[in-house]
């Protein structure tokens, strides 16, 4: 872990070999490693470990299943603007079964899947894209005559890790919206055990890649929250890092699309933005590698909460969000604002003055009485 990229750069031969394999320059490769390390929130020194792991580890076999979905997750991975991304998807991992990308078709394809499962038993990574219908014994989705529920169970049995990509596989997503005619369920519900989920519609490709690279580097999947989401990507509300947050704090809201506030980039809360109740790293990582502002809120549309169960595809897009802020900021005035405390010196000075005044008053009173008594005494003398 203490190795730096500089140390790695000395191993010119290894990188030359890598460059041949991936058909990219060493520079491009290290850029990828830096990006993934940053997404994972790892220290800079981990770049070296990531680079080494990606370079040296035997590419893990990946079986990618598609069920009730739109293939948007796959598309988002492939359409990324990063010039080397698709090469890395295909070369960092060994994608042995992927209905959209594989050349084989029909029984050949199914045979390839079975062969890969047998060859890499207990070592392959299973990626599930799409929800799994459970209603009526799961007859609503079949691949090669096999029901989705049977296929996912068969593939998960010997997998080293299961990753659910996209909201459909993570929590049901679009197919599970009311009235849910096919009984669409998440991969975790279908398998009856927790899996790592990368929700989003589509999810950010870097969140998925970073989870896979974490598996490559450290031999295990990253730390997840109670919903199976990697904490490096889903521990903060969209609202917390939103570029329009300052407008929310200042009370500047776009009232309707195209109004002066909307044109000036005001907060979209009043238009139904679900940022305050959606956990995702969209505002920090953005989409498509196309520069600043390239995410829904940046483009002027309220967040629809696609990563969050019960929000995305469940709540109307323009319905107000529930604020999940833990506590109001400290800068807010209290009902009774506490005044500054009295210092010891000030209290002592006040006490001294009060004491002197009391003493003086007592002396004065006593002297008054005395002079009244003394006067008749003088007369009698």
């Amino acid at each position: 872990m203490n190795e730096t990229l500089f140390d790695l750069q000395r191993d010119q031969d290894e990188f030359a070999e890598l460059a041949r394999r991936l058909q990219i320059s060493r520079r491009e490769f290290l850029q990828f490693c830096t990006a993934v390390t940053a997404t994972l929130g790892l220290p800079a020194s981990a770049e070296a470990a990531v680079a080494k792991a990606v370079e040296k580890a035997k590419r893990p076999s990946v079986i990618w299943l598609h069920f009730q979905e739109c293939t948007g997750c796959t598309e988002s991975l492939l359409r990324a603007e990063h010039p080397t991304l698709e090469k890395l998807i295909l070369d960092v991992i060994s994608l042995d079964y992927h209905e959209t990308l594989m050349a084989a078709a029909g029984h050949q394809a199914e045979a390839a899947r079975k062969a890969a499962m047998k060859a890499n038993k207990g070592k392959y990574v299973l990626v599930v894209e799409g929800a799994i219908p459970l209603k009526d014994n799961g007859i609503y989705c079949k691949i090669g005559g096999q029901k989705a529920i049977d296929m996912v169970k068969e593939c998960a049995a010997d997998a080293a890790a299961v990753i659910a990509i996209g909201s459909c596989a993570s929590w049901g997503g679009m197919p599970s919206t009311d009235p849910n005619p096919t009984g669409a369920a998440s991969a975790a519900e279908a398998l009856g055990k927790p899996v790592v989920t990368i929700p989003g519609c589509p999810p950010n490709p870097y969140n998925f890649l970073a989870a896979v690279v974490h598996f490559l580097t450290f031999g295990k999947l990253p730390a997840v929250d109670q919903l199976g989401r990697p904490k490096f990507a889903y521990s903060r509300l969209v609202h917390e890092n939103c570029e329009r947050r300052a407008h929310f704090d200042a009370g500047r809201f776009a009232m309707e699309f195209g109004d002066p506030g909307h044109r000036q980039g005001y907060c979209l809360y009043k238009l139904g933005c679900k940022g305050p109740e959606t956990y995702a790293n969209c505002p920090t990582i953005l989409f498509g590698d196309a520069g600043p502002g390239t995410w829904p809120v940046g483009c002027g549309h309220p967040c629809i909460g696609c990563t969050e169960k019960g929000v995305g595809f469940a709540k109307p897009i323009h319905q107000l969000a529930v604020l999940k802020n833990v506590v109001p900021p400290l800068s807010y005035p209290r009902v009774v604002e506490e005044q500054g405390g009295t210092s010891f010196a000030a209290a002592a000075a006040l006490a001294a003055i009060a004491g002197a005044a009391a003493g003086g008053a007592a002396m004065l009173a006593r002297n008054l009485g005395r002079s009244a008594e003394e006067k008749p005494a003088e007369k009698s003398e």
Binding site: F248, G251, R252, P316, V327, P333, R334, V335, V336
Partner: protein, 322 residues
């Protein structure tokens, strides 16, 4: 005046006073066309859009925290000569849940209550504070004001604030954005409120809306209007909240045109328990009694004159003989 006549006139004055009691002023009742605001603490998200909009529409300067080295943010701690409305926070313990008394927090708005029977109007010696005879909005005329600050002392909610730091100071308080009415506008705080926590409308309609909300079962699905009652429909679906069983402003001090709903007892939110009789009614009754027909002052002056004259006479006689 001899001793006998003095007692005679005193008795007459006493009789006049006892009939004068009939002029005692009762607490005024609300105007049928009264305008106001409904603030629902359970809907408030503490975004302070109302505070910002109020500053903008009323042309008020920002207010920085005392002793702040970097004065970037408008952060009023309370209403003041520069701030007409403010959102405050009730905090308790761990602040786990909103609108919860124990270990919770809640937001509360502070601004002019537009009392049905305002003490400030009663206390003002020059009628600079006026209550509109139709909509009941309490407004202020800075050209009539003599700067005595009786209104500041009289208000039970501590609302009128004096601009002490200005060369030509004046009183500042919420006037329900009456300057925006001519363009069809209404209170800026209600107009911008994203959740309808501050709602503008006729007080009768606002109270009906409050009654509707209180009758809902907590957790039940409902809709909340936004902006202005009777204006364009900006309502949105929401969930019914759990309220403390009280509509603040219904009876307090004869009632106010700004009414409140909350999930936390109002004493905790800085809104004290007040009797249904207004201070204005009490003090004006006392004044009317004491000064009615100027009988009491004349009697008092008569008594003083009698005593003075008697003493002076003795003195003169003494001086004459001496």
């Amino acid at each position: 005046m001899d001793r006998r006549n003095f007692f005679k006139s005193s008795l007459a004055a006493g009789a006049a006073l006892s009939t004068g009691r009939a002029r005692a002023r009762e607490t005024r009742s609300i105007l049928p066309e009264a305008l106001g605001l409904l603030y629902d603490s359970t809907l408030c998200i503490g975004c302070k859009a109302c505070v910002a909009a109020c500053k903008r529409e009323n042309d008020m300067p920002p207010e920085f925290l005392p002793r702040t080295e970097q004065p970037y943010w408008d952060q009023p701690l309370d209403i003041s000569g520069k701030t007409l409305t403010v959102i405050k926070v009730y905090r308790h313990g761990t602040m786990d849940k909103k609108d919860q008394e124990e270990n919770g927090y809640a937001f509360i708005k502070k601004s002019c209550m537009h009392c049905v029977d305002p003490s400030c109007v009663s206390a003002c010696p020059v009628s600079a504070m006026q209550k509109d005879p139709v909509n009941g909005v309490v407004s202020y005329d800075k050209d009539a004001c003599i700067g005595c600050r009786y209104c500041v002392a009289a208000c039970p909610f501590g609302v009128p604030r004096f601009t002490y730091d200005q060369t030509f100071p004046q009183i500042n308080k919420c006037q329900l954005c009456k300057h925006r009415w001519k363009d069809g506008g209404y209170s800026a705080c209600a107009e911008v409120c994203p959740t309808g926590a501050t709602l503008y409308g006729k007080v009768t309609e606002l109270k009906a809306e409050a009654t509707r909300r209180r009758a809902l079962k907590p957790g039940a699905a409902t809709t909340y209007p936004r902006g202005k009652l009777g204006g364009p429909d900006q309502s949105y679906p929401g969930v019914a909240a759990k309220y403390v069983d009280r509509l603040y402003g219904e009876t307090e001090f004869g009632g106010t045109q700004m009414v409140f709903l909350a999930g936390v007892p109002f004493e905790k939110l800085g809104y004290p328990n007040l009797p249904p009789r207004s201070d204005a009614a009490t003090s004006e009754t006392m004044q009317n009694t004491l000064y009615g027909g100027l009988v009491m002052p004349i009697v008092f002056l008569g008594a003083l004159t009698y005593i003075a004259k008697r003493n002076v006479k003795d003195d003169e006689q003494g001086g004459h003989h001496g």
